[in-house]
């Protein structure tokens, strides 16, 4: 049965692996550049006293690739659900070939288990390889940006896309089984997957783990770059990367400092800010750091 699965799906699997190789080559060629750029800009910025320019120029380099990689990892599970999961059974019903397939010397149970198992394995493998390549490539930009647990970033790094791919494939398979027609199954697999993803991102994940609040003193030893804007009303504190004062923080370590009773406006980049009340959330929670701020 496995040989038959391979016989039917080999073109798609080989195509997917070829695409992975192309992506791997692109990332392998551009990755070292990024490291070099990091070493010459961000790594030395404290010495040059100009970290904002350094980070901006670092993050802007290969910007298209950074966004492209993220979006690829974002969409690949959906594509897998649509083009691999949904047609798996739906096409058999639509073309009537289930009457050929299920009257061979293989029970329907084994047919389904093999198809589902092999499909899941390949989906997970392809998405996993892609995700880890992009994660490796983006490790420095991620570190500089300090947004590892942002909604978008979290979903396209490490093992998270693997889960999405397995879910999307199974959902597509189920849609095909119920609807028995390829196009409606593909459409509902896409809509269902996007819906669930959005729901998880916006409602489920922020509530999975209670955010950790902590207060830290703001004094001369706080490793923050502090600048005053006009009239001294707005105070911006920026810190990227690791906060030594709270050694366990890997990200979410940038802060926004606002004068009380004044909504913060256009100082600094929104993502690099935190409120003066100094309530920070620890990175262990996969929530957005900003999501836990309240003052």
């Amino acid at each position: 049965m496995i040989r038959f699965c391979w016989l039917q799906a080999r073109v798609q699997v080989i195509g997917a692996l070829a695409a992975l190789i192309v992506i791997a080559v692109i990332l392998a060629l551009t990755g070292p550049n990024l490291v070099h750029l990091y070493d010459t800009t961000v790594a030395t910025c404290t010495a040059n006293h100009d970290c904002s320019t350094a980070t901006v120029s670092f993050l802007n380099s290969d910007g298209a690739l950074q966004i492209g990689g993220d979006f690829l990892v974002l969409f690949v599970p959906a594509l897998i659900g649509m083009f691999w999961g949904a047609p798996l059974v739906a096409r058999e019903f639509e073309a009537g070939t289930f009457r050929l397939a299920w009257t061979q010397g293989v029970t329907r149970r084994r047919w389904t288990a093999s198809k589902l198992g092999a499909g899941l394995l390949v989906s997970v493998l392809v998405t996993g390889l892609l995700s880890f390549m992009v994660t490796w490539w983006s490790s420095l930009p991620d570190q500089v940006r300090g947004e590892r647990f942002e909604v978008l970033t979290f979903g396209v790094r490490d093992v998270v896309p693997i889960g999405y791919a397995a879910f999307a494939f199974s959902l597509g398979f189920a849609c095909g089984l119920v609807l028995r027609r390829t196009l409606p199954a593909m459409a509902s697999a896409l809509v269902g997957f996007a819906g669930v993803r959005l729901a998880v991102d916006s409602w489920v994940r922020p509530n999975l783990i209670a955010p950790l609040h902590m207060t830290m003193p703001l004094n001369i030893n706080t490793p923050l770059g502090i600048g005053l804007s006009q009239a001294g009303v707005h105070v911006t504190a920026t810190s990227r990367g690791v906060l030594p004062a709270t050694g366990s923080m890997r990200s979410g370590s940038s802060m926004r400092l606002d004068a009380p009773r004044r909504p913060h406006s256009s100082i600094g980049r929104a993502r690099s800010a935190r409120r003066l009340s100094n309530r920070t959330s620890r990175s262990a929670s996969p929530t957005s750091p900003r999501g836990s701020t309240s003052s």
């Binding site: 040989r3 073309a95 009457r99």
Partner: protein, 298 residues
């Protein structure tokens, strides 16, 4: 006489519509069985029940002594060519044969290869690019090469032109003669089956109407023609299947229990077509007289 297909009160319902009702039959082994009936009579349902693609709503069925579609071994013992002879359009002929060998332990590779060669099929060609006749032959090859004990074909020649029809049935009969396989094939045209079948099952409006050896059916039915007369004067052991009258003449198709002795009748033999059409006409008439929803109970 062992039975390849045995059913007892078999019935299948789709929603509120009965596709097959109260079907009790024993199809003997080693025969080429023609399953005849108008479109929508329940032929496909009966055959799909026999290969385990659908589950019965009531009654029971055994195929080769086991539950249909139960386990891989049972699936291998029954070859099936489904309606419209489905194949994977994007898969080549050679890959179809590969599929057959991967999925059936009993696969006869030499037989499959020989048949494809004889048919002149290009192994590299995609099944979607084959003609209807070629596709039917490919589907038949897949079903035959797993060396089944029972071969079930659902309207295999319905979409074929007369020449392809003849070639298909010819190659079917050659394989059957060689391996002694039991065959059940369905059609809504008696003409397709007349030459190949030695057993006939007639299904009309989800009910079994008639089942028997073709020779016996032909021998037991007669066409009577003679001067017009009142049918109530006929002997009670003569079952009238069909009657038609002109001003002066009555023509009947009867199934007598003994010889027809009345000298006023001219007795002529019947063809299979005559018998089937007579039963179809009778079923339709009785359905009309009983109103919709009621079928004929044999």
């Amino acid at each position: 006489m062992t039975a390849v297909i045995e059913t007892n009160g078999l019935a299948k319902r789709y929603g509120r519509k009965w596709a097959l009702q109260d079907c009790t039959i024993a199809v003997p082994a080693g025969k080429v069985v023609g399953l005849v009936g108008p479109n929508g009579a329940g032929k496909t349902t009966l055959l799909q029940l026999a290969v385990g693609l659908v589950e019965p709503s009531a009654g029971s069925m055994t195929v080769l002594g086991a539950r249909p579609g139960e386990g891989a071994a049972q699936l291998e013992r029954v070859g099936f060519v489904a309606q419209d002879t489905p194949t994977y359009a994007s898969m080549s002929v050679a890959n179809h044969l590969r599929m057959g060998s991967y999925l059936n332990t009993s696969w006869d590779k030499a037989l499959a290869g020989r048949r494809v060669q004889q048919l002149g099929l290009d192994p590299a060609q995609k099944a979607g690019a084959l003609s209807g006749g070629q596709r039917a032959q490919l589907a038949l090859t897949l079903a035959i090469a797993k060396r089944p004990e029972l071969l079930i074909l659902d309207e295999p020649v319905a979409g074929l032109d007369p020449l392809a029809r003849r070639e298909f049935l010819q190659s079917l009969m050659e394989e059957v003669a060689e391996h002694g396989t039991s065959v059940v094939l369905s059609s809504h045209l008696v003409a397709d089956l007349e030459r190949v079948c030695d057993y006939l099952v007639l299904l009309i409006a989800s009910h079994l109407q008639l089942a028997g050896e073709v020779n016996e059916l032909l021998a037991s039915h007669h066409r009577l023609s003679g001067p017009r007369r009142d049918l109530r004067t006929l002997p009670s052991d003569q079952e009238i299947i069909e009657e038609s009258h002109t001003d002066k003449q009555s023509i009947l198709l009867v199934r007598p229990n003994g010889p027809v002795l009345d000298p006023t009748w001219t007795v002529t033999p019947v063809t299979l077509d005559d018998v089937v059409l007579a039963y179809m006409g009778r079923a339709r008439d009785s359905e009309q007289s009983r109103g919709p929803g009621l079928g004929v109970v044999r």
